[in-house]
């Protein structure tokens, strides 16, 4: 799935007046590419991702473009890890049975090395495991595009390395389109050969 934005402007009202977060922004990311978008905190990277994902516009979000948020608490705490995934599968694949959904959930958890934690509640998991669980959910619903908003920023270096290897492996195998937002240049270089600087996106940058 290609991602295309053309001349987008987004303003927020502030007590000091209007703030232009996105100013005539254009972006093209062809299908299957892994692109990092780098910029300082507060420059509008999250706004960009939410716009692409349909959270902030007239379009509705869809399971084909799945967002992995910065906050590791994005699994529903009232469901186990496995139940979070099987619920997501059943809601995005109408007609699929419970057993089949659980099978797919287990397969997705196996890909992120969390199968042993199928029956664990999210509050028993570490931050890194919760982020991997969120990634597994996106895989389970067969998303074509991942929008990742600094998902590993709260992890220590060891867990970051594990997460990077996992993400790259999944990207290669599933041929996903990934837009990865970060403020860390080293992280961007580690993950992707295609790095876009946020302030450059006001001109059209084909990837």
């Amino acid at each position: 799935m290609d991602i295309k934005l053309n001349g987008i402007t987004k303003e927020y009202h502030h007590e000091d007046g209007k703030i232009k977060v996105l100013n005539n922004l254009s972006l093209e990311v062809p299908s299957g590419h892994f692109v990092s978008v780098i910029g300082p905190s507060g420059c509008g990277k999250t706004t960009l991702l939410k716009l692409i994902g349909g959270f902030d516009s007239d379009e509705k979000p869809s399971k084909d473009i799945f967002m992995i948020f910065q906050d590791s608490n994005q699994l529903f705490p009232w469901r186990t890890l496995g139940s979070n995934l099987s619920y997501a599968i059943m809601k995005t694949n109408l007609g699929i049975g419970k057993d089949k959904a659980e099978e797919k959930a287990k397969a997705a958890l196996a890909e992120v090395a969390l199968l042993d934690f199928y029956d664990y509640y999210p509050h028993h998991l570490s931050g890194g495991m919760k982020q991997r669980g969120a990634l597994a959910r996106a895989l389970a619903v067969e998303s074509k595009v991942l929008l990742m908003d600094e998902p590993f920023s709260s992890l220590d270096q060891e867990n970051k390395e594990i997460a990077y290897e996992l993400l790259l492996k999944i990207w290669r195998e599933k041929k996903l389109t990934i837009i990865f937002v970060t403020h860390d240049l080293e992280e961007a270089k580690r993950l992707s050969g295609q790095i876009l600087y946020f302030e450059d996106l006001n001109g059209k940058i084909p990837v």
Partner: protein, 260 residues
Amino acid sequence: MKILKKNKEKYIILFWIIVLLTIWQLAATVGGVSGLLLPSIGEVASTLVDSLLHGDLPYQIYYSLKVILIGISIAVFAAILLALASQKYMMIAGLSKVLSGIGHPLPALALLPLIIIWFGTGDASIIAIIVHSALWPILINLNAGFQAVPQIYLDIGRNLELSPWEIAYEIKLKASLPYLLSGVKIAFARSWRALIGAEMVFGAIGLKGGIGWYIFKQRTFMNTPGLFAGIIVVVLIGLFIERFLFDYIEKRTVQKWGQN
């Protein structure tokens, strides 16, 4: 360390219960207090057992619990509907605020004469009193709970293409469960007190009335041990529901989910 402190607290509570019972028994037996004012523990226990085995008390306990369950269920249902509608429509949110602003501070027993005129002196009046006592704390807490639902859960729900009803049930209600349970606990405490008082006024509604009527009848016959027996039943049931039933529900839900 925490377990040691908790055990110590339990022993202290047990100590004071024994001390208070001892003072009671001594006052009633050798303290010179009239049996009409303060019967002994033995007399109260004997009256309680007799009422349970041979009297109407089991039915009256069942009746009181039945009406409070019906009343609180109606209140929970109404509160959920109002709170969800308030999320969607500003007019309903305004109405909800006005109604709870008026209803919440108003003691149920103050409404009793009006409720009798509107609903008569049967079950409907008792249930109306319970609904009034329970609805406002549940609604206020639920509104607060819905406001506190993390936006990230709602965004995930939209990303999963959930319908508005699915978002309401799966996300808003479940994320607000700690607030709802807190509201229901307050609602039960208020309703239980209002119910016992109302039963004393209404008399033998249903077949034989409830615990409040049992207590009132003991007064009529100057049966002080019976009065104490009734009071003990009210306390024990209240304690059981507040301490055990709600604790059980919380352990199986919000505590299990790490939401407490």
